[in-house]
């Protein structure tokens, strides 16, 4: 097929070249626009190269992640059962070879789309929803996941419904049930409730009482109950909920007194701490710091007992779990139970914070930053049994997490605008297709027909390579950390950085900047030392050169070199040691007989220094004269530069040897 198309293309080019007729142009255009893209489009056949992709407007995700997310959202909203969820994850690696395994997901998605009020849907899928097949779903997977994720997200991206009656079995009813289940109910019976019913209104009443608001009517008629917009906003935006939650704290309790404390087996940490104790110079500061941290810890532990075992405390944990989940530190269930997974999430957050904070030369964070972190997370030193107590300040912890995820409140407004833009784009696209295509149908349909008509033997040679590539991507272990073994822990959530991507990049840059700053600090020491050695050597050379000049002058003028002895305490005389060399180096030493050994040695050194410096001066001067004389030769400047470079290199080698 490929070769035939290429050959056809060549012949049509030749025909067009020989006679640029309308027919030849039409044939060539058809080949280039319709036939060639079928074989050469990149990367997937479903991504039509000739048409603008809908996925371009969606947040970027990888293919496998899109399916995982869709399954998670469908399960959260009750379109898929827990059993189906587990089965999907057990068999997910076989899906590339057996796409039929996705049929339950397809059915659940069709059910979801049937309940969805989405104007774009009619343009995405022509005909009945029941006729949607996997290729259709795959083609619009990005937008569907983006759309359904609004019902389970807590970033304010779900706008309040225009028309929703409590008990309606649509997406909003399911979303409300999910939020009630996740955020604030303590009733285990609600675990399997996936549509919010009028009988569940009592939970919303207890919720509004908890956060100190009165948005629900006092005595509603069950069949006419409407959830106010303010309630929706708080339920859909965890930041807004937390703000309201803080304001509704019990009287007399400060914001920083909303704390959680729990015991921890910390034998390992205890050993690590004991190593730190040996660091000597930092010991005093550490003791001081630990003292302040201990006092703070005691205060926080005491404060945690005030709210322990209250509904308010339970909700605080859930809010914190949601925020940790949003920022990808937590992948467990939002269930109000603070266990090991939650602890690890907080620990990894603190580790990351400590890593990006400005550090002192010893690699530890500055005191004020350590204290700031201690406000959010504090672990008491372990006792003899290795038991420590961890105290978490909710407000401080939440503020730390805000650095990683800021909910875009403008999303509500922009989502509508984005939908409009997409709708316009789709309408225009379909108009163009309808105009351009003849009675035989659109390009897409022709391509699908072609695909249907192709049997196994007609698979193009490169397609196998693409299939293998797809398999490698889909089964890559690189994504395992993102999507752990959900088959064993179905309540865990998959998380995708929907809105925190830029925040993550920003934090990453801070991390990199600190790393570079630290590296430069480490590098500057040796670099300055190296330059100090070089400049020291240059300075010594210049000094010797000038000294040699003076010695030579005195030598030529017949002046002696004189060394004075050390003056004895209380004496008003000094010993004199003098040596005079004539031009032929005949020498006369005039030495005081009472000169000490030390004075004599200094005078000997003086004589040698005179000799060395004088010849250093003579040699350097002669070299300079010789080098200058070479300038007259062709390329003299180059030669001079070369000689100077060799001299400098030789000096540098000496310096390096000295350093080594």
């Amino acid at each position: 097929m490929t070769r035939a198309t290429v050959e056809q293309f060549k012949q049509q080019c030749k025909a067009f070249d020989q006679a640029a007729s309308t027919d030849a142009a039409t044939d060539l255009g058809q080949t280039v626009e319709e036939e060639l893209p079928l074989a050469y489009q990149i990367p997937y056949e479903t991504m039509n190269a000739a048409e603008p992709s809908l996925l371009e407007k969606a947040h970027t995700r990888h293919y496998r992640g899109l399916w995982h997310e869709l399954v998670q959202h469908l399960t959260d909203l009750g379109y898929l059962t827990e059993h189906q969820f587990i089965t999907y994850h057990k068999l997910r690696k076989e899906i590339p070879d057996e796409p039929r395994l996705l049929l339950p997901v397809l059915q659940a998605t069709v059910q979801y789309l049937g309940e969805e009020n989405w104007p774009l849907l009619a343009q995405m899928f022509k005909g009945k929803l029941a006729d949607i097949q996997l290729p259709h779903l795959e083609e619009h997977l990005g937008h569907i996941v983006e759309r359904i994720s609004r019902y389970t997200s807590f970033d304010g991206s779900l706008p309040p419904p225009e028309e929703y009656q409590v008990g309606a079995g649509n997406c909003y009813g399911r979303s409300l049930a999910f939020r009630v289940r996740t955020l604030f109910t303590l009733d285990a019976k609600l675990r399997d409730v996936f549509v919010f019913e009028p009988s569940h209104l009592k939970f919303l009443y207890s919720f509004q009482n908890l956060i100190g608001l009165k948005f629900l009517p006092p005595h509603p008629q069950p069949n006419e109950a409407v959830i106010p917009e303010e309630c929706w906003q708080i339920l859909c935006d965890v930041d807004r909920l937390f703000d309201r939650f803080k304001e509704a704290r019990p009287e007399g309790i400060g914001v920083n007194k909303i704390v959680l404390s729990y015991p921890l087996n910390a034998k390992d940490e205890m050993e690590g701490d004991s190593e730190d104790d040996d660091e000597g110079e930092e010991e005093d500061e550490d003791k001081f710091l630990r003292g302040r941290e201990r006092r703070r810890g005691r205060r926080m532990t005491k404060a945690s007992k005030i709210l322990a075992d209250t509904g308010y405390h339970q909700m605080a944990i859930r809010i914190l779990q949601v925020k940790l989940w949003q920022t990808h530190f937590y992948i467990g269930a939002v269930d109000g139970a603070w266990g090991e997974v939650s602890h690890r999430a907080v620990e990894s957050l603190i580790e990351q914070e400590e890593a990006i904070l400005p550090q002192k030369n010893n690699g530890k964070p500055k005191r004020k930053h350590r204290l700031a972190i201690a406000k959010a997370f504090f672990q008491t030193p372990a006792d003899n049994d290795g038991q420590a107590t961890v105290v978490i300040g909710f407000n401080a912890m939440y503020e730390l997490l805000q650095n990683y995820h800021v909910a875009p409140r403008a999303m509500k407004q922009s989502s509508t605008a984005e939908d409009d833009e997409m709708a316009t784009q789709l309408t225009q696209l379909h108009k163009e297709i309808a105009t351009a295509d003849d009675a035989s149908g659109s390009r897409r349909e022709r391509r699908r027909n072609r695909r249907r008509n192709n049997n196994e033997e007609e698979v193009i040679p490169d397609e196998e390579d693409f299939r293998q590539l797809d398999d490698q991507l889909l089964n890559s272990d690189d994504f395992n950390t993102l999507y752990p073994n959900l088959a064993e822990t179905p309540q865990r959530r998959v998380a995708f950085a929907r809105k925190s991507f830029l925040s993550g990049i920003k934090r990453g840059f801070v991390h990199i900047a600190n790393w570079i700053k630290k590296g430069i600090k480490k590098l500057l020491g040796p670099v300055f030392g190296f330059f100090k050695l070089i400049t020291g050597k240059i300075r010594a050379g210049i000094q010797q050169f000038l000294r040699g000049f003076r010695y030579l002058g005195h030598f030529l003028l017949g002046r002696p070199i004189v060394t004075f002895g050390k003056r004895a305490p209380g004496s008003d005389t000094v010993e004199v040691l003098a040596t005079k060399f004539s031009l032929d180096f005949d020498g006369v030493n005039l030495i005081s007989v009472t000169a000490g050994r030390e004075d004599i040695q200094r005078h000997v050194n003086h004589i040698h220094d005179m000799k060395d410096s004088m010849f250093y001066f003579i040699d350097t001067t002669l070299s300079i004269i010789k080098m200058i004389s070479k300038l007259a030769q062709p390329g003299g400047w180059v030669l001079l530069g070369w000689q100077i470079a060799r001299m400098v290199a030789g000096e540098l080698v000496d310096v390096v040897k000295m350093v080594a």
């Binding site: 008003d572 032929d584 030493n589 030495i591 000799k611 010849f615 040699d619 002669l622």
Partner: protein, 120 residues
């Protein structure tokens, strides 16, 4: 001609005696330049002192090195312990003078190379 004749031999003589300089208070700052070369007269004027010598000078050692390296050394007899280091210093001066002369001759020789060139 006498200069050339003198070039054939290297004479170093060491004379010792009670040679001291009287210091007045002004010397405190000047003495920092002890190791620099100064002429006697100028120096004596600057420090406002004077050479105080008993004029009881004597030759402690003398050395003559001929052009063929034949060497004649004269060392005074009955050396005291204090004078032994002076004799050693004398031979250091001989060594320095010998090296200095050789170096000068090496540089005066046609095609003679400087230390910089040798290093290259």
């Amino acid at each position: 001609m006498s200069f050339l004749t003198d070039l054939f031999s290297l004479d170093v003589i060491t004379i010792t005696g009670d040679i001291q300089i009287k210091i007045v208070e002004a010397d405190a700052t000047k003495r920092e330049k002890r190791l620099s070369i100064v002429d006697f007269e100028g120096m004596f004027e600057k420090i406002k002192g004077g050479v105080d010598s008993t004029a009881n000078l004597r030759i402690l050692a003398a050395t003559r090195v001929e052009v063929d390296r034949d060497t004649t050394n004269f060392v005074a007899s009955n050396l005291t312990d204090e004078e032994i280091p002076l004799v050693k210093m004398h031979f250091e001066a001989v060594s320095a003078a010998s090296e200095g002369r050789s170096a000068i001759l090496a540089r005066l020789k046609p095609g003679g190379r400087t230390e910089v060139e040798v290093a290259e």
